[in-house]
Each structure stands twice: as structure tokens, then as C-alpha cells.
């Protein structure tokens, strides 16, 4: 059948199983929005306050579901406003397809109104990008974009769509999408990995977002149990293992616990699974795992040996690799190793409760009590993010969404919107709790209007210490308390602003007030903001300075 380009786009979206898109209209995408209008019963479009919010929403949607998030923007500023969201998704390997309008092909390259070279701009922050110059290439290019986003190591793909390409028509033949190719782990590499595990006396499993991406939580747990391997995780894998499990040591890295970092230092084998030795984990690439052989398992071959040497590697899909590995590892018990670890656990940092002031860990403890096991958490970036990672009693994969690699302040509200839409709009079934701070929240709080428009019950807990806490913490420790630009003295009345947007707002200064406000928020059918007034001297502990080892850990 002969179809208009814009109609072809909606047809391919439907083919790919897309029923939810996020975006913001504009001149160059009017044809696409017209086609979306015609298909509004099949594809729901959510308009945000700002394209950045839409890009984070598509990202949050993708992280919560594992499906590909889709975001649409117009040309020029619409497209550039997506950049932070695309880079965020790229750094955390989130499958995303960004569709940007562009000026008509005859106007490209003439500095036309709202023209920007977005494929050039996004080249280093996408897995791949395309500009479609002929309507005949449109359908297959879009299909390729979806395939690339989900294939191998996932990530964002951008397709730039000149206006005339969406207005022109051509023959359209429907196709069924093919499942992405499985990257199989090589048997010989798996066997070598098993041999290393079997001879290890002090093994440590260190796993990251790749486990979540390939849905390998069960296989990971089976390996941990069979070979008795203590495990620690990165920010990207919070929730994959249950909070109370004996072999779950906790978060690793700069703000990870003492036990995890000490175990990484003392292990004789580090089994790194679906992770990339980022500088927030392997703070000192020369000394990380200095007593260990390093066995790296990842789907992306370029990660092996990139940051830290690997003594052995298994390249492939983590679920496939772990499934093949499991029968080859011998059942083991590492009692001496556990005894050492149990001793370290006694030295772990424990925050002190307060009766009079709001303490971050108590706020998060109260959230977990009231929100229950099924809650999905989204954070922004900074101190509150680390407190959330440290103190949320995570229980489920895909229930902790955070910008790990790029560290995008302002990620949280958009991502919460995406996650809320992905998981149904009911706090009773699954609360979506957005843990944020005054610094991060000020960046994109405008998305409250989106949450109000669509009746999205999102509970934003704003840890307000009136300063840029993480920046200030570094200035305290490393810059002689010279608080340059980190104490903005804002006077925002969050409860009033919330009301102005049509949301509900609370302000709390005690734990009792907070519990009451949060319980109230759980009953709401729309967005709620809860401002928690905390002390500006609150720090994230423990902390290992950049480039340091567990020997440099700061515990108080």
C-alpha cells in the first residue's frame, strides 16, 4: 500500500510493539503528530514540559520495562534538548529510539530556521544514528534503529526525519520484527572461567547493570548459592539480589560499604559480571583487586581490559554465560572467607538515628516501611542518590532507576513519569517514589505539570539541605571548606510551588511528620511533593576518595 512517510512511522512503531511514546511537537514533526493523532487508540503520546523531560521519561519507561523507550522531538532546539537524555541512556546502556524532525531535505545545510545537525551532535552519544533522506528508506531505517537499540549491549539510536520525507509517500510493506540475535558465550571461555572459580578460595562476585539487562538475576543467585560466592553490586544493579541475603555484601565503590570494598581488595578471584570497572568502582585501576585474578564477563568485548586488566574473560549475553557456567562449577563452601567477611561487616558504617532532626537514612527507612516491597524508586543525582542506594532495602530488579554513568541531575522527575506510565498509575499496586534533592529537583521540577496533566501518582521526596550537598561535601573534604557556588540560598517554598502546579505538597522537619505525610501521599491519585528539611552538614559515608583504595576509606 502507498503511505505517507509520517504514516509509515506510526506503522513501524505499531509493528515494533510500541504503544507509548513521549515527546513534544513542533513545526517539523507536525505530520508525524497528525499521524499519531489518527492512531491515538494504538499509541499513547505523552507530552512533557520540556524535551529533556520526555527523553528521561522514555529512558525511565525503558529501564522499568526492558522495552525500547521512544521519544519524539521537533528539529533544532527540540532535538538539542534531547541530548542530555540520550547521553544519559547511552552511558547506562538503555534501549531508546529518538525520533527528531528536521527541516526539509532542500533546506538542510542552509542554516534554515530550527535546523541543527543533530546526527553530528549525537554521534558520540548514540550507538548509531541515521538521517533518512528518502521516504523509500524510512521503514527499514526505523526497523534497523529498533534492532540496534536492543541488540547486544543496548543503547540509544537516533533517527533524524526531514519534514518532506514524512510528507512524501511510497509503497509500504509490513514486516514482523525479528528477535535480536543472542550473543552466545563461547564454551571454552566458560570452561576456563569455571576452572578459575573452582580453584578459588576467596571468590567475590561483582556485578552490574548487565545482569539486569539480560534478566539473569536467577542464574546469578544460583551461581552464588552453588559456588558459595559472596557478591557486591554497582549502582546499576541495585535490587538484583535481595537486601538481607547473606551473600549480598552491598554496594561497591566510592560510597559502597567497607565490607564490599575490603572483600574486593582481599579476594583471590573477582568475577565481574555485566559491569565495566567504572572509575566510581575501580577507583584505582592499578590497585583494584590487587590480590585477585580478574575474570570479566560482559556482552561488550571492548569492555574487557578497557579499565582494568582481565586475566580471563567470557564475552556474551550474561544469562547465556551464567547458564552455561552453572553446571561446570563445583559446589563449594568458603567458611574461612566468610569468617573474614563477617569480621569486616562489624566494621561497616552505621548512621546514627536522631529523635529531633530528620536524618536521610531514617527518611529512606520510613519510605521503605510504608511503600513496601513492591515500590519502584527513581533518584536524581548527588548525596540523596547515594543515600538511596545505601539505605533502600532493594528487593527487585528494575525497581531502582538512577543515572549512573552520566550522573544527570534532573533525571529523576522525567524518569519517574516514564516509570509510572510503564507500571500502571496506582500507588496501591506499585508506588513510584522519586527520591530527589533541592539541587536536582530545581533542574526539572517543571515536569510536575506533566504528572498533574496525566494524573500520575508519583511521590517526590525532596531532601532539602539548602545546598548542593555532594559538591559541598567535596569542598568540605578536599577544598578547605571554600563553598564556592554550592550554597545558593534559595527560598523556594516547595509545598506552595506544588500547589501552584496542581500537585500536593508537604513540608516535614521531623520523622513523625514525614511518616504522616508519606502515608497520606500513598493514598493520592496524583503527584505529591514532600520536602524534608535536613542538615547541610549531612555527608555520604563511607567515602573512598577518587583514585584511592579501601585503605583510604573515610568512615566519619
Amino acid at each position: 500500500m502507498i503511505l505517507k512517510g509520517a504514516e509509515i512511522i506510526t506503522q513501524v512503531l505499531i509493528e515494533e510493539g510500541v504503544d507509548t511514546v513521549f515527546g513534544y511537537p513542533g513545526g517539523s514533526v507536525l505530520d508525524l503528530y497528525d499521524a499519531l493523532y489518527m492512531h491515538r487508540d494504538q499509541i499513547t503520546h505523552y507530552i512533557t514540559a520540556h524535551e529533556q523531560g520526555a527523553s528521561h521519561a522514555a529512558d525511565g519507561y525503558a529501564r522499568a520495562t526492558g522495552k525500547t523507550g521512544v521519544v519524539i522531538s521537533t528539529s533544532g532546539p527540540g532535538a538539542t534538548n534531547l541530548v542530555t537524555g540520550i547521553a544519559t541512556a547511552y552511558m547506562d546502556s538503555v534501549p531508546l529510539v529518538a525520533l527528531t524532525g528536521n527541516v526539509s531535505t532542500s533546506l538542510i545545510g542552509r542554516d534554515s530556521f530550527q535546523e541543527v545537525f543533530i546526527t553530528g551532535i549525537t554521534m558520540p552519544i548514540t550507538k548509531h544514528n541515521f538521517i533518512v533522506r528518502r521516504v523509500e528508506d524510512l521503514a527499514d531505517t526505523l526497523r534497523k534503529a529498533f534492532a540496534i537499540a536492543q541488540e547486544g549491549r543496548k543503547g540509544p539510536v537516533l533517527v533524524d526525519l526531514p519534514k518532506d520525507v514524512m510528507q512524501n509517500s511510497c509503497e509500504f510493506t509490513p514486516k514482523t520484527p525479528v528477535a535480536p540475535k543472542l550473543h552466545e558465550a563461547e564454551e571454552s571461555a566458560v570452561a576456563a572461567a569455571a576452572a578459575l572459580i573452582n580453584e578459588s578460595k576467596r571468590p567475590l562476585l561483582y556485578f552490574g547493570g548487565g545482569v539486569q539487562q539480560s534478566g539473569a538475576g536467577e542464574e546469578l543467585r544460583a551461581l552464588i548459592e552453588k559456588a558459595d560466592i559472596p557478591a557486591c553490586y554497582t549502582l546499576m544493579a541495585a535490587g538484583v539480589l535481595g537486601y538481607g541475603e547473606r551473600n549480598n555484601l552491598g554496594l561497591l565503590g566510592m560510597h559502597g560499604c567497607f565490607t564490599s570494598n575490603k572483600a574486593a581488595d582481599q579476594a583471590d578471584l573477582i568475577l565481574a559480571v555485566g559491569t565495566r570497572f567504572s572509575d566510581r568502582v575501580a577507583l584505582n585501576t592499578q590497585k583494584f583487586g590487587r590480590n585477585a585474578k580478574i575474570l570479566h564477563m560482559d556482552i561488550d568485548p571492548s569492555e574487557v581490559g578497557k579499565n582494568v586488566r582481565a586475566d580471563a574473560s567470557v564475552v556474551g549475553d550474561i544469562k547465556d554465560a551464567l547458564t552455561k557456567l552453572l553446571p561446570l562449577v563445583s559446589p563449594a563452601v568458603h567458611e574461612e572467607w566468610h569468617e573474614a567477611i563477617d569480621e569486616w561487616k562489624k566494621q561497616d558504617y552505621t548512621p546514627t538515628d536522631s529523635e529531633t532532626t530528620l536524618k536521610p537514612h531514617q527518611v529512606i527507612g520510613a519510605i521503605c516501611d510504608i511503600a513496601g516491597e513492591n515500590a519502584l524508586y527513581v533518584t536524581d543525582v548527588g548525596q540523596h542518590q547515594m543515600w538511596a542506594a545505601q539505605y533502600i532495602r532493594h528487593t527487585q530488579p528494575r525497581h531502582f532507576l538512577t543515572s549512573g554513568g552520566l550522573g544527570t541531575m534532573g533525571y529523576g522527575y522525567g524518569a519517574s513519569i516514564g516509570a509510572r506510565i510503564a507500571t500502571g498509575k496506582d500507588n496501591r499496586a506499585m508506588p513510584v517514589v522519586h527520591i530527589t534533592s533541592d539541587g536536582s529537583f530545581h533542574m526539572n521540577m517543571n515536569e510536575a505539570c506533566t504528572a498533574v496533566s496525566y494524573n500520575l501518582p508519583i511521590i517526590s521526596v525532596i531532601m532539602n539541605n539548602a545546598v548542593l550537598g555532594m559538591v559541598r561535601q567535596w569542598q568540605t573534604v578536599f577544598y578547605g571548606k571554600r563553598y564556592s557556588a554550592s550554597e545558593p540560598e534559595r527560598k523556594t517554598d516547595f509545598a506552595k510551588v506544588a500547589e501552584g502546579f496542581g500537585a500536593k505538597g508537604y513540608r516535614c522537619t521531623t520523622l513523625e511528620e514525614f511518616r504522616a505525610a508519606f502515608a497520606e501521599a500513598m493514598k493520592q491519585t496524583g503527584p505529591v511533593w514532600i520536602e524534608c528539611v535536613i542538615d547541610r552538614e549531612e555527608r555520604v559515608l563511607p567515602m573512598i576518595p577518587a583514585g584511592g583504595t579501601v585503605d583510604d576509606i573515610i568512615m566519619n
Binding site: T119, M123, P124, K127, I148, D300, P301, S302, G305, K306
Partner: protein
């Protein structure tokens, strides 16, 4: 720092070169020379890159370049079994008394004199990068170089091997 040569076979699309060079730039891989050329397959271009780096850096160069969607094959060329060639155009100031000396050097190196104008001579030389370096050094020792242009390395492996496309 070792000299490295790689041959990257890529889709013959607009923008591929930008993608490859953007990757090198972002990751801090230094390029000594880069050439793009047609191959016997009209859908495929060959990018030949000469670069320097330690083992780890080079390993990353190979892996990151291989990851590009438009990369169809990548070969690390071992110079001992490869043919590396470069073309040089060298414009040298010359007058009648120096012309003879220049002609001697050209003859020894099998360089061609392709232009002789009042006050200058242009020589063309094809060869391995080392040979070109030496030739330039020799000329520069006694003569004034006015301009020069090197094409960068282009290379093939010896023997009946042929790349396999992804």
C-alpha cells in the same frame, strides 16, 4: 610507542569517516595518517589508519572501531607480511647548480621528477613510509623544501587472503 596499521572496511555511506574520526578523537587515539579509498566492492570503502599506541590502547582502538555499526571488517596489519605504500609530492627550490645533485638523489630513490619550473622542482616518490621519511630528510639537509604533500599510508596484506565482511 609502536607504529600500528589497521585496515577498516566500512559501509560506503556518507558520514562514515566522521564516525570513525569522531571515535578516535573522543577516545584520545592519535592518528598519524588516514586514507579512505574505494574497494572492488562498491558498497564497501577501505579506511587505512596509521597510528601509535601501547598494546592496551591499540586493543581498545580495534575493539571500539569494530563496534561501529558501519564497520564491516577490521584487520590489524602486521607490517612484516603487509605492503605499506605512501605517495609523496615534494617541491624543492632549485637552480641550475643544484639541479644535478637533486637528480642524483631522485635517481637513487627511484623518485620521478614531474615538474621543473624556474626556481623549483617537484618530485614524486612512492614507497614505504620509512623510505619517504629518509628521502625527505636527505633532501632537506642540502636543499630548501618549498611545499610537500604525503598521501598517508595505504596497505594490503600479502598472499591470497581476502577480508570477510560481517
Amino acid at each position: 610507542m609502536n607504529k600500528r596499521y589497521l585496515s577498516v572496511l566500512v559501509d560506503n555511506h556518507a558520514g562514515v569517516l566522521a564516525r570513525v574520526s569522531s571515535l578516535f578523537c573522543q577516545r584520545g587515539f592519535n592518528i598519524d595518517s588516514l586514507t579512505v579509498s574505494a574497494t572492488d566492492d562498491p558498497t564497501v570503502s577501505r579506511i587505512t589508519i596509521a597510528c601509535q599506541g601501547d598494546e592496551t590502547t591499540y586493543d581498545q582502538i580495534l575493539k571500539q572501531t569494530r563496534k561501529l555499526v558501519e564497520t564491516r571488517a577490521i584487520l590489524s596489519l602486521d607490517p612484516s607480511v603487509s605492503l605499506l605504500r605512501e605517495l609523496l609530492l615534494l617541491k624543492v627550490a632549485c637552480d641550475e647548480p643544484t639541479r644535478g645533485a637533486l637528480r642524483d638523489v631522485a635517481a637513487i630513490y627511484k623518485a620521478k621528477i614531474i615538474d621543473l619550473s624556474p626556481g623549483s622542482m617537484v618530485m614524486e616518490l612512492t614507497g614505504e613510509p620509512d623510505k619517504i621519511d629518509n628521502f625527505i630528510k636527505l633532501i632537506a639537509a642540502d636543499h630548501e623544501i618549498l611545499e610537500m604533500c604525503r598521501t598517508g599510508v595505504t596497505a594490503l596484506e600479502r598472499g591470497p587472503v581476502r577480508y570477510k565482511l560481517d
